[in-house]
Amino acid sequence: MELIEIQNLCTSFDGVPVLRGINLTVERGRTMVILGRSGVGKSVLLKCIIGLISPDAGSIRIDGKEIIGMGHSQLYAVRSRMGYLFQGAALYDSMSVRGNLEFSLRRRELLSDDEMGERIEKQLRLVGLEDAIDQMPSQLSGGMKKRVGLARALITRPEIMLYDEPTTGLDPITGREISHLIQSLEEQYEMTSIAVTHDIGCMRAIADRVAMLNEGVISFEGTLEAMGKSKDESVQRFIDSE
């Protein structure tokens, strides 16, 4: 059963079209990886799904509810079921790691200080950063920031997780570690996910299905196996670049 349904989604910036009619569905509990070259609109698509960008036309349904044109309070309710890992982690730089994880949790769930502390420590243990709890984001490396961003996104136990370039800017080893961490967390939490990336290794580690975004449209959509057999030129170029 589809949890996310996107139909004929179109977006433009200053009259320049970015998305020219995206059609995509993601089944509950599955991970869809969207591949594409830099600047094709992958992050824009994710931001449309979570309501940060209003598209020009089309439809986005989350669990059957149309989110385009939704009021603020309803949109916040939908977002509370979602998590988002930003490309640059987007940690709150005035707060410690603990503060980053506590911020949304405190506003969304009624937990005692002890329960909250326990949840934060558990989440940081999952991403292997329990020792960094009192550090500030400026003291963390790129990979550590991604891990904290991941812990922050997952602490509210979202049903849907969106990853924006989870391995970009990291060295290959750290990138692989993050990919495997995402894979294990996906299995543990049974989430429905969309990840945009141009990292084939990351895609192989986490994808159930793959979509190729090319010139504002989805030029290929299918399983990893089908991708290998695809005659689509953009898909082949991506595979060859591995």
């Binding site: 931001k47 979570i50 940060l52 603020h72 916040y76 309710a77 977002r79 509370s80 979602m82 998590g83 988002y84 930003f86 490309q87 640059g88 987007a90 940690l91 709150y92 730089d93 911020f103 949304s104 506003r107 969304r108 922050r152 509210t156």
Partner: protein
């Protein structure tokens, strides 16, 4: 020319909508009281040395400059009254506001602008938190509340500053000085000035927040936004002061 007009109209429209959203946010729960108090402490306490020093010096200069002029008319005794009335009615509110606009307005704009370009505001939004309420409404409310307090301190220090030349050059006693400075102030000098500072604080908060919250163009954009915030806020403060001064005279006199 047409493009400039369109851009200006859009800017005014966006600013007006932003200000109205802030005003509504003041009265609609949930109230982020802890965050507002943090900003009052952060923005208010740290502006105190600047505003206080300016007040002290302005009072002192005003007394030094006005004494020889008033002496020409044999009205030297009116120096304390002139200082207190001019400071309380006009100089205190506008100079405090300009000082706060320079210090706080640019700070708010830079802070929110950096949060915007590093996607921290988006991160707040995707966590289901109303970033406008948490980041903007709290800062604008803090500015609106701190300016009357800072102006009060400016006024007191300016009157105290003017006391120095009154003693050293005019050999006036504290009792006489205090009597002339305070008893020449009427309620209609004080109340409209306080109301005016509430409006000035709101303007500083809205302009600073608007420029930061809506920033685009990366770190360069943040720099432009904070400079523009100070320029726009200063001009708008002077312009609104002109209108409010006329209104106050019409209503209270």
């Amino acid at each position: 020319m047409k493009d400039t007009c369109v851009r200006f109209t859009r800017y005014v429209g966006s600013m007006t909508t932003f200000a109205l959203r802030c005003l509504l946010g003041f009265f609609r729960p949930p109230f982020e009281t802890k965050e507002t108090l943090r900003h009052i402490d952060e923005l208010g306490a740290k502006s105190l040395p600047l505003v206080g020093t300016t007040g002290l010096i302005v009072g002192l200069i005003l007394a030094i400059q006005s004494r020889p002029v008033l002496a020409r008319f044999g009205a030297e005794l009116y120096v304390p009254a002139m200082v207190s009335i001019s400071v309380v009615r006009e100089l205190g509110p506008i100079l405090s506001a300009l000082m706060v606009a320079g210090r706080v307005g640019s700070g708010i704009s830079a802070e929110l602008g950096s949060m915007r370009v590093t996607e921290q505001i988006d991160a707040m939004e995707v966590s289901g938190i109303d970033s406008f309420r948490f980041l903007v409404v709290t800062r604008v409310l803090a500015c609106t509340l701190i300016l009357p307090l800072l102006t009060g301190i400016f006024n007191v220090l300016a009157i105290l500053g003017a006391f120095v030349p009154a003693v050293t050059e005019m050999h006036m006693s504290w009792t006489l000085y205090f009597h002339w400075a305070v008893y020449s102030l009427w309620l209609r000098d004080v109340v409209p000035a306080i109301l005016k500072t509430l409006a000035f604080g709101f303007i500083i908060g809205v302009i600073g927040s608007h420029h930061g919250y809506t920033v685009s163009g990366g770190t360069e954009g943040v720099g432009h936004a904070s400079t523009n915030a100070v320029v726009t806020a200063s001009l708008l403060l002077l312009f609104s002061d002109m209108i409010l001064a006329k209104l106050i005279v019409l209503i209270w006199n």
